[in-house]
Symmetry: C2
DNA sequence: AACAAGTATCTCGCCGAGCGAGATAATAGG
DNA sequence: CCTATTATCTCGCTCGGCGAGATACTTGTT
């Protein structure tokens, strides 16, 4: 019916990885009385912070694929738990900038640190050409998955 | 604070890929009046079918990280939509074997086919050593993420 | 064989995440 | 200024998933 091909093994492996990472995230969420969405939000916030960008409520909701009502509830939840702070935008006072608390960053590192460490360790075992192929494949899949919004 | 390192770029890229694939799955779910969990369930079912294994309600719930009540509701939903069939276990009549309908398989291929095709195309551009490094990295991350259940 | 213990699924009642619709507040453009 | 636009929030609601416990079938024990 479909030709198997040795490439399919890697495709299925990639999917298996995303499933496993999803479950890993869900465990972190459960252990801290949070929901998967809350964790995804914190990750998005830390990403923005690392890139030196401000994350507003609207952009956060868009990044997670939930609407404005859901986003407000999400930020309420995170704020109530002390994971984020709401800060009114300085230049545009309609906006609400969301800042991650130091405590949430540490909580995240405690759980995801070992996994990240292991991944970095694995990557150290490859030479530049191998790293380039990994980078190229992941980048290509990301682009392909982003098509058709 | 943290040493950046060129490896971190790939770690963040992998995370970006999982985020993008998650959104891609959510779009498929929305367009077909389903929820992300339903799609994850169908994928798990097709995986099992491809591996020639029977998937029961209990194993499905475990694979998705939801409890038995939620699993029953999930299977009800999928059955109502015509995506799966319930079949009483032959040997052990307590079990309920879940079978995916041909129609659901085609629906999935219509949406995920192009993405899978693009991934395979990308992989064809690498030689055996490069494929081995991609396989090795993904396999290693999967194992690392599976630790600590 | 009959009974207890174990296992797989289902039912019931409930909580709360996320949605649609629309209100409110701030900015931008003519 | 007055209107259109943008950003967030409020309200009411639906329904996915949970905990507790019921039900049905299987397996081990005596």
């Amino acid at each position: 019916m479909h030709k198997p091909g040795p490439e399919m093994e890697i495709v299925h492996l990639l999917r298996a990885v995303t499933v496993e990472l999803g479950l890993h995230t869900a465990r972190f969420a459960n252990r801290n009385g949070m929901h998967p969405t809350d964790v995804r939000a914190l990750i998005a916030l830390m990403d923005a912070s690392r890139a030196g960008e401000e994350m507003t409520a609207g952009r956060l909701g868009a990044a997670l694929g939930i609407n404005s009502a859901g986003t407000t509830a999400l930020v309420d939840r995170l704020e109530r738990a002390g994971h984020v702070r709401r800060v009114r935008g300085e230049r545009d006072r309609r906006k609400v900038v969301i800042e991650v608390s130091e405590e949430a960053v540490e909580l995240g590192w405690a759980h995801f640190g070992p996994l990240i460490g292991r991944a970095v360790e694995l990557l150290r075992g490859y030479d530049e050409r191998e790293l380039a192929s990994i980078r190229g494949f992941l980048g290509g899949v990301r682009e392909a998955a982003a098509q058709g919004d």
